[in-house]
Subunit: 185 residues, 2 copies
């Protein structure tokens, strides 16, 4: 199988199926470049979202969704956790988590101003796909250290082991695949 | 001086002034998190843009602008050059440029599908700030190698040496500063 037909937020997309290793292939969901699906997913997620003050994501793939949700909600503000400290962060606020699967450490960064901004606010974490959950966990740790009140986690899709997670809201699921292209049970 | 008052696209923002080294400070313009300025800048840039088929930017800071311009223009498509090759890029298309100022090499990546997509199309390159011009040059080289017809380069702001460049369209300028906060001549 070269592609997987995804139905989400009222739209259909053929996702390329990419080999991770000889035992595993995944269907790649890339919102970059696709304004239509970003608008539709943002709308569907906002419909089921709890009340929030600010939307937060981590760079890079979640940025258009976070932007669009901020725009549609009329709140007009969102926070992007960066993968590297930046010059504009006069004082850098960071948090590291160790990956369970790879044993690598992932660190995310905010400016101190951004950390102060989310402190005490109702924060909605969003992303495009939750799979191992490592990325969203890193954002959560960062937001919690900054004093945010995380009132929800939303993702367009869950994949693999994330299917059935009850601590997040999602619009659709994508299977992971064996090397021969059959979905894993 | 702690902040610089920027007027752009009908809006006013106080930019933090950050020290780069003992001789240079810059005003940091961060569109992340600011939906209002993204909408206004996208609108103003589209008003003066040449006719185009697709918008292109490099991750990460230019993504919301590229997204918003694609949305407002009704073309609903844009391309993001990535800083690292990704699993979803079954065949990776890349281009490297050597920085004039740092002698470091910068490489940007597309999937082969994205490279094929922009081949022969009228591509509008966009970014938030052009300063040394290295970033936009890297995107341009990548797009040209993919066969794109680059019909324009647009940025919200130019800074420092980029002021006065006639090969790009911009909405405003920001000075660079001496360590004492006075603008450099």
């Amino acid at each position: 199988m070269e592609t997987y037909e995804l139905h989400v937020a009222g739209l259909t997309r053929d996702l390329p199926v990419c080999e991770v290793n000889e035992h595993l292939s995944i269907a790649a969901f890339i919102m970059f470049g696709d304004v239509e699906i970003t608008i539709a997913a943002a709308q569907a997620l906002l419909k089921i979202a709890p009340e929030f003050d600010v939307i937060m994501t981590a760079e890079a793939k979640g940025i258009p969704l976070a932007y669009e949700m901020a725009r549609q909600s009329g709140k007009y503000n969102y926070v992007v956790a960066r993968k590297y400290p930046k010059l504009y962060m006069k004082n850098v606020f960071s948090a590291s988590v160790r990956s369970i699967t790879t044993d690598k450490e992932q660190t995310l960064y905010l400016s101190q101003d951004e950390a102060d901004y989310i402190n005490g606010k109702r924060v909605l974490l969003v992303d495009d796909v939750v799979s191992t959950g490592e990325s969203i966990r890193a954002v959560r740790v960062l937001a919690e250290r900054a004093g945010a009140n995380i009132i929800g986690i939303q993702t367009v899709l869950v994949e693999g082991e994330a299917q059935g997670r009850t601590d997040l809201q999602y619009l659709g699921v994508i299977p992971v695949f064996n090397a021969d292209g059959t979905p894993k049970e």
